[in-house]
Structures are given as structure tokens and as C-alpha cells.
């Protein structure tokens, strides 16, 4: 039988949900207009007043926010509460220039925990479960979000963080973990390690996994389910909106229910900004209607996606989003880290290289690999192998410092990387991330 964490909300009629959204949106727009000068200026520029927003039908009148706005307003420009009311920050993975810092009041943390509790419950979790959190802990939202959700549900929580896989498996066996939360690629790796240790899914108690923070395919889902003997559920979120738990999968395992009592989704044409009707592919936009400290209105996620109100067999009425099917910008997610080609370019220039490069991303044994070929300038060439390898290593280190992940750098001959007319092909992503 399907269990709900908050049945009233999760199974609310569309009319009641819309009423709730209308009322929350109106209050939120006023809160933002009164407290966030940055957004007030955007609204004034567009000639929109808080009074013009009477219901969700008026949502399209509001200006968009994008990552560029977050950068410009860094660090406090979008804060809507005094810092003294805030209790925590989280931040997107280690990148200069593109860093996003999100603020939370205790109320925001509680709402977030509640969203994650819904996800855990939808995956079959109750207070009888042992929930192992193998997402990274720290500024990253993955660990903190599911940890909070697990506490809220009342599971015995193992805040493992990621890494040290054999120890993960030892705890999994000794504590009888029943739910695993981590990135899908790490889940796959745990499955492989289990096998290498001569163990089978029968040696562990896991029954479900909640996996997110990076794209994964149905194929990968099946392989993880088999290697760990579980049902694998997807979860979606981003630091800008709070973290994981914006949307979660139910027993149907076919798309994620959006917690639309907190986040109103829209699908827009990424070029024109026009709102698209339900069922069309476009860019996913979220409006936070309950968050206090960092309430982003009409935030463009850059994820390309489809929404559906088709009746779900789980009984939830919350709108469903399909797995994102790509990006409307050039961001890649590599080992759970957001990577823009422009970041790599910045390092190349700072290190004295020409910005002629080719990024190749692949997935080998369920781990993402990042190879960067960089054209050397003629004067950077030395007849000594060691000098060349030192140059490659020091460039790899500089890129690692910027991105937080280790690339393989290959120096190549000047002018050997194909120049195309118009837009250069900078990235080859060989991973099969979307079905």
C-alpha cells in the first residue's frame, strides 16, 4: 500500500492546491518585493507591482532570475531575511565565479526536511528503517537534505558522507541499512565493490535507494537495482531552490512529483521566455513560494524537461516532471559537480595557454572521466619529456583547484584542434545520460 508523508498535500485536489499556491505566491511576491532590492528593481524595470500578482495565473508577468543574476547579486543581494534570522548556508560545488550561496532560516530547513521526508516515505521508508546517507556532507546540499529528511521520518540515520566504500559496506551490513541515499554513480560503485568483496545482495538488508544530483538512465537504474537488490528512486533538486527534494519519485518510478505546495514549476521556451503548455519540452523554471531567506522567483534551471498532470497510480496529485533530458546551456555534470567549459577556459588563459581545447567526458565503470586536450603554444614545447609532463600535471592541478575534480590533461600540437566556422565544438560528451 502506498504511504504518504503528508497525504493532505500530496493527494490534494488540483483546485485546493491552486488556491494554496495562489495565496502563497501573492504573499511571497510581496515579501520579496519588500525585502530584496535586486528583484524589486527587476520588477520595477518591467513595470510589475506586487498588486499585479493576484494568483498563479499572473506568474508569467514576473521577471526571470538566472544564474547570472545570482552571480551579480553574490553574496547577499537576493537575501530576503536579516542574517540574524538565518541559520545555515549551502553552496554549489567548488567553483569560483559561478558559485551560488543559498541561505536558510530554520523555517526553510524544516520545509526542506519535510520535502525530503516525502521522498523517503515514497521510497517506502518509515521510522523502522535504517537510512544510510552516502551523499557528500558539507556545503553540498545532498548530504544535509537527505539527512534532514531521514531524521524527520524518524529513520535511524547513518551520516556516512561519500567515499570509503568498504567501510560503507561494513556499516551497511553491521547496522542493517535498508535505504541508501547517494549519487547514482556512487550507488553503482557500491554495487561493484560489494561484488568484488565476494558478497551478494542477499548479504545486505537494503530495499530502496534514493539517487540524484546527476543525470542517470533507465539502464543504470536497472543495473543498480540488480547489483544491490533494491528499488532505485530518482530525486531532483538544486541548491538555488533548497537542494534535493524539490521533486521525488513514487512507486510508479516514472517521473518525479514536484512538491508544488513549495515550488511552482513552469516550462518555458528557453529562447523567447514564453510559457509553454503542459506536455511540451522546454526549460524548467521554479518559483519558491514558501522559502523565507532565499526565495527565488521564476528561477531558470536550464534543465530541459516535460511536465505532466496525468493521473499517477500512486495516488499523488502533485504534478510530475520527467527526468531532465538535457540542458539549455553548456553546463555538464561530472561526478556530481557542475562544470562549465568557460571555467576551464579561464584556467587555460590564466596558465598562459591559448583557449583552444577539447573537453571529452565519458563514463567508465560508472565513474565519469574528464579528458581535456589543450593546444600548446610553440614556445611551451620542450625537448624533455619530463618538462612536458610537468606542464600537463600543473595545468591539471590548476583545473582541479577550479572545478574540484581531477581532469586528465593532454597537451597537443598547435592548431591541431579542429576549428569550425561559427561555434567551436568544445565538448564531446560520450556518456549516455538520457534515454
Amino acid at each position: 500500500m502506498e504511504r504518504y508523508w503528508n497525504e493532505e498535500i500530496e493527494c490534494m485536489s488540483r483546485d485546493d492546491m491552486k488556491k494554496l499556491q495562489d495565496q502563497r505566491l501573492v504573499a511571497q511576491v510581496k515579501h520579496v518585493y519588500d525585502n530584496v532590492k535586486y528583484y524589486r528593481d527587476l520588477m520595477d524595470e518591467k513595470g510589475v507591482k506586487p498588486e499585479d500578482i493576484k494568483s498563479t495565473d499572473d506568474l508569467h508577468k514576473l521577471p526571470f532570475l538566472s544564474k547570472a543574476d545570482l552571480r551579480e547579486a553574490y553574496p547577499y543581494g537576493l537575501l530576503a531575511k536579516p542574517l540574524s534570522e538565518c541559520v545555515r548556508i549551502h553552496s554549489t560545488s567548488g567553483t569560483t565565479g559561478k558559485r551560488v550561496v543559498a541561505f536558510y532560516t530554520q523555517h526553510d530547513i524544516d520545509l526542506w526536511d519535510d520535502c525530503c521526508a516525502r521522498a523517503i516515505t515514497a521510497a517506502g521508508g518509515t521510522k523502522e528503517d535504517v537510512c544510510q546517507i552516502a551523499y557528500g556532507f558539507g556545503l553540498f546540499t545532498g548530504g544535509a537534505g537527505l539527512n534532514g529528511g531521514s531524521h524527520t521520518v524518524g529513520c535511524l540515520t547513518l551520516p556516512m558522507s561519500s567515499g570509503n566504500t568498504e567501510r560503507q559496506i561494513t556499516f551497511m551490513r553491521d547496522m542493517g541499512s535498508t535505504i541508501l541515499c547517494c549519487t547514482p554513480s556512487y550507488a553503482a560503485y557500491i554495487g561493484e565493490t560489494l561484488q568484488e568483496m565476494g558478497l551478494t545482495p542477499d548479504d545486505i538488508q537494503l530495499k530502496a535507494g534514493i539517487f540524484g544530483a546527476e543525470p542517470w538512465t533507465e539502464e543504470m537504474r536497472k543495473s543498480i537495482e540488480k547489483s544491490l537488490g533494491i528499488k532505485a528512486y530518482d530525486i531532483y533538486g538544486l541548491t538555488e531552490t533548497s537542494g534535493p527534494g524539490v521533486a521525488f519519485e513514487c512507486s510508479e518510478q516514472n517521473g518525479m512529483h514536484i512538491n508544488e505546495d513549495n515550488f511552482i514549476p513552469e516550462i518555458i521556451d528557453p529562447d523567447t521566455g514564453e510559457v509553454l503548455p503542459e506536455g511540451e519540452v522546454g526549460e524548467l523554471v521554479f518559483t519558491s513560494i514558501t522559502k523565507e531567506a532565499f526565495p527565488l522567483l521564476r528561477y531558470r534551471t536550464r534543465d530541459l524537461c516535460v511536465l505532466s498532470r496525468k493521473k499517477c497510480s500512486c495516488g499523488r496529485t502533485l504534478i510530475k516532471m520527467a527526468k531532465p533530458m538535457g540542458r539549455s546551456d553548456d553546463m555538464m555534470i561530472i561526478r556530481g559537480v557542475n562544470v562549465f567549459p568557460s571555467q576551464i577556459e579561464t584556467v587555460l588563459i590564466a596558465e598562459g595557454y591559448a583557449p583552444n581545447y577539447l573537453i571529452e567526458v565519458d563514463r567508465v565503470n560508472n565513474t565519469d572521466t574528464l579528458d581535456i586536450s589543450v593546444e600548446m603554444k610553440p614556445e611551451q614545447f620542450s625537448d624533455k619529456v619530463k618538462d612536458m609532463q610537468d606542464q600537463e600535471r600543473s595545468l591539471a592541478l590548476a583545473i582541479k583547484t577550479m572545478l574540484g575534480i581531477n581532469p586528465k590533461v593532454h597537451l597537443v600540437s598547435p592548431k591541431s584542434i579542429a576549428r569550425s566556422e561559427g561555434k567551436a565544438v568544445r565538448v564531446i560528451d560520450k556518456r549516455k545520460l538520457h534515454d
Binding site: 600548446m376 610553440p378 614545447f381 624533455k384 619529456v385 600537463e392 593532454h410 600540437s413 598547435p414 592548431k415
Partner: protein
């Protein structure tokens, strides 16, 4: 004293890279006197002594190859056991660091020639002279 110039060319780890270099040299009528390739997983470094260093460099650079010219020491030693070991002892005794070396065919079948790349040409050259090792000039090599 030695003053022999070696051309090094960066070679990408892709098919037909070496062919490309050789074709250019052939078209320019360049004769290669000595050659070695250092290869890594990622790339190769082709090192050569040729009969016309300037022309070879210009040709390769025009074709966008990364090229560098380094002064190396070239020696000729008798083709008998223990000769190279003697040379290395002389260099080691002076504290000269050897980066790499390679052999090439000399004029005589009783002698063998080597290219020696060290971190201190002056010191190495003086030590070799003192040790009675014959050093070749660029002229010697092109007349071989």
C-alpha cells in the same frame, strides 16, 4: 665547444603523425643524420640532427608543428665494450645530469656516435675533452 643543434618536434599521439613530419622533410630535401623518438602514452617527441637546421625548422613551423632547437653534445667513441660506461663516468664525476642520449650511425664501422643531452653543456664538454672523448661538430656530422 660542441655546438651541435638538435631539432625536437612535438608529435601528437594520433595515426600518421610521424609520416606528416617525414613527408615535409622529404619535400624540402632535408637529410636526417640522427634521430630518436621519446614516446609517452600521450605524445611523442621526435629529436633529430639534420643537414639544414634552419630550413627544417622553418618548414615544420610553417606547418604549425611545435619545434624547438637545443644544443646538444655529439661524441664518437670506439665500438667496444665499456666505452659508453666510461663516458657516463666522466660526466657523473663532474656532477653533470644526463637528460637523455641516443646512438646514431657514424662514418666508421669501428666507431659509434651518440647524442648526449645534459643540463650543463659547457661543463660536460670540458670534462669530455679532458677525458679524451672525441666530440663532433655540426660540420663533422654533415660530412658523415
Amino acid at each position: 665547444m660542441a655546438n651541435v643543434r638538435q631539432i625536437s618536434v612535438f608529435v601528437d599521439n594520433k595515426p600518421n603523425q610521424l609520416t606528416g613530419v617525414m613527408k615535409l622533410l622529404k619535400e624540402s630535401g632535408i637529410n636526417i643524420r640522427a634521430l630518436s623518438i621519446a614516446d609517452t602514452k600521450d605524445f611523442g617527441i621526435l629529436r633529430m640532427i639534420v643537414n639544414d637546421t634552419e630550413k627544417a625548422c622553418d618548414t615544420l613551423r610553417d606547418a604549425s608543428y611545435a619545434v624547438t632547437v637545443t644544443e646538444i653534445i655529439a661524441i664518437s667513441i670506439p665500438d667496444s665494450p665499456g666505452q659508453l660506461s666510461r663516458v657516463l663516468d666522466i660526466l657523473g664525476g663532474e656532477g653533470v645530469n644526463l637528460e637523455y642520449l641516443y646512438a646514431f650511425t657514424g662514418a666508421s664501422d669501428r666507431a659509434v656516435s651518440f647524442v648526449i643531452r645534459v643540463d650543463d653543456n659547457e661543463n660536460a664538454s670540458a670534462a669530455l675533452t679532458k677525458g679524451g672523448i672525441i666530440q663532433l661538430t655540426e660540420n663533422d656530422i654533415s660530412e658523415m
